[in-house]
């Protein structure tokens, strides 16, 4: 399996063994390759039919290239389907929630890990239990709460909800990093007459930038893709985010495969682009966020 074992066996002159190893190695790549193919093929198929017209979708082989790529599908859904507006709403909601979540989570994590007080473990526990609460068990009371305070059908209701539900995970990723910061850092700052606020904004936040970036991208993915809250709290079409917007829009276009494909590709694109640029951070964030649970 490893190059080391190949070296050991060939040095003993066991040629057959090394041949068998090569076969096993090849087999491993075949397995991994098949899995990769399974993960990618539905998406490749989607990309292909987003560039076809119905004629080609029905008559050509599923993975045949379109003879004349219908880029018009994309232009059409962007203008006809309010996709531009949904896209803008998603950016607003996602952006505001990410900033608010990171700021609040950094505040609390700082207070819990760096400052001295008795109830810090209890407060931390309160946040961590939040990870287990199923969204559906809060949905009806949240609905009636936002109704009563007049935030129903308002972006603020989803921004606040996203922030509350993402705080635990965000803190979990931040915690490990905060615990490893050296005490001397704060001591030196305070010796120099730095206030706690100044220290937090000028020293701590900049130092935690790498882990903040990780939490930001993870939050961005979760918020961008969120469905239930928007579907429940937002009723005006002009306030819907991309996830819910495309769901309604596709309903109207149920027979136009090219338009549906183009809509889906547009909704996936920002996340995929972010992934190509920041894949290491995403992998890191997803691992950190779960393993400590």
């Amino acid at each position: 399996m490893s190059s080391n074992s190949t070296a050991v066996e060939s040095s003993e002159g066991v040629k057959i063994g090394s041949f068998r190893l090569k076969i096993t190695h090849l087999l491993l790549y075949v397995i991994l390759g098949i899995v990769a193919l399974v993960q990618l093929l539905p998406l490749v198929w989607l990309l292909l039919f987003s560039l076809k017209d119905n004629q080609e979708v029905f008559n050509l082989a599923p993975f045949a290239l379109p003879s004349d790529p219908q880029w018009g599908n994309y232009a059409r859904v962007w203008t006809d389907g309010n996709i531009g507006l949904y896209f803008f709403n998603s950016v607003i909601v996602t952006g505001s929630s990410v900033i608010l979540t990171i700021l609040l989570a950094s505040f609390v994590t700082f207070a819990i890990t760096r400052m001295q007080w008795k109830l810090n473990k209890l407060v931390l526990g309160l946040f961590m239990v939040g990870l287990m609460i199923p969204v559906h068990s809060t949905l009806i009371p949240l609905f009636s709460f936002f109704m009563n305070v007049g935030l129903m059908d308002h972006h603020l209701s989803i921004i606040l909800t996203y922030t509350a539900f993402n705080l635990p995970l965000t803190m979990m990723i931040l915690l490990g990093f905060y615990y490893t910061l050296p005490r001397e850092l704060e001591e030196a700052a305070i010796m120099d007459g730095c206030s706690v606020h100044r220290m937090f904004f000028r020293i701590i936040l900049p130092i935690t930038a790498p882990v903040v970036a990780t939490t930001a991208i993870i939050n961005m993915i979760y918020n961008w893709n969120e469905f239930v809250f928007v579907n429940t709290f937002i009723s005006s079409d002009s306030l819907k985010t991309l996830t819910v917007g495309i769901q309604n829009f596709i309903g109207q276009y149920s027979t136009d495969w090219g338009a549906i494909g183009a809509t889906l590709v547009i909704s996936m694109l920002p996340i995929l682009i972010a992934f190509f640029i920041l894949s290491n951070r995403i992998v890191e964030g997803m691992t950190a966020g779960s393993v400590k649970g």
Partner: protein
């Protein structure tokens, strides 16, 4: 130093905003769900206190237990698929060139919204134009299944995209854990003549048992509250064949406006998830965690 770093006013300033948010939007709501469950309420008008009537009705509601059974099957299935993910991760962590690229490819579906995945797989399963049945017809199967409208296979048909979606997530977790095992252990076993399978089974798996437990809990909780794909792909249909607890609750509350009964089910889900989590943690707890 200590005086400044234990300043109560500053601690409150840094802690209260976030604390207030999770209390208002998570903790108060779960208590209220239990409370609303005691009411006859359409969500808008006045509430009438009816005691435990809703909760008693849940106990004998065939449609609810059918949805709970589907959620349970989903949980079983998800835990089963962890074996598959673990197998792939063991291969991936075995000094494979390009492992990094592979695991990133595997992760891609996990980054997409459930709505987009659901819409895509509805096309994959399309009776005549979907890639699934086009493929089955091309290899000579004459009457390929109607995946999403056949009550006997619809649940299975929905499991497939769920496995597809989550594969990368669990694989990167297992991969990271396997890569954390010190190289020396594996090499020592090899010198003693252990086969790759023995190394995987006797050394690697016990060493990552902690992570495996975490993923079992994640998979079970995730399944019990699963909603998005099912809501979009089948809306619980046909004829309730793919209804799960969350989709049933959503329907009752936001379509039939039975907020009291919906709340009772929401509260049931919460209690069930907390109990199941506790039971799994207890069942898999070991006296001495493996050290490495």
């Amino acid at each position: 130093m200590n005086k400044i770093m234990s300043d109560k006013r500053i601690i409150a300033m840094y802690t209260l905003p976030a604390l207030l948010l999770i209390l208002t939007l998570i903790y108060v709501p779960i208590v209220m769900t239990g409370y609303y469950g005691l009411m006859d309420w359409d969500g808008i008008g006045a509430m009438t206190f009816i005691g435990l009537e809703n909760y008693a009705a849940v106990m004998t509601d065939g449609a609810f237990w059918s949805s709970a059974w589907h959620s349970f099957l989903l949980a079983l299935f998800s835990v089963g698929s962890l074996v598959l993910y673990l197998g792939v991760s063991l291969v991936l962590a075995g000094n494979v060139k390009g492992a990094d690229l592979f695991r990133k490819i595997y992760l891609i579906p996990m980054l997409l919204s459930s709505v987009a995945i659901a819409q895509l797989w509805m096309r994959v399963y399309h009776p005549t134009n979907g890639v699934m049945n086009r493929f089955l017809t091309s290899i000579g199967i004459e009457n390929p299944p109607l995946w999403l409208s056949d009550t006997s296979i619809v649940l299975f048909a929905i499991f497939i995209p769920i496995i597809w979606q989550y594969a990368g997530f669990y694989i990167i977790i297992y991969y990271a854990a396997l890569k954390n095992i010190p190289k020396e252990l594996e090499e020592a076993a090899k010198i003693d003549g252990a086969s790759p399978f023995q190394i995987a089974y006797k050394i690697k798996l016990p060493l990552i048992s902690g992570i495996i437990k975490v993923t079992i809990v994640l998979a079970v909780i995730g399944s019990l509250k699963y909603f998005d794909l099912i809501y979009v792909m089948t809306d619980g249909g046909p004829n309730g064949a793919s209804e799960v607890m969350a989709s049933y609750m959503y329907k009752l509350a936001f379509r039939t406006n039975d907020f009291g009964y919906g709340s009772a089910i929401g509260f049931f889900m919460l209690v069930m998830i907390l109990i199941v989590t506790y039971l799994i943690r207890r069942a898999t707890a070991t006296k001495d965690e493996v050290q490495y």
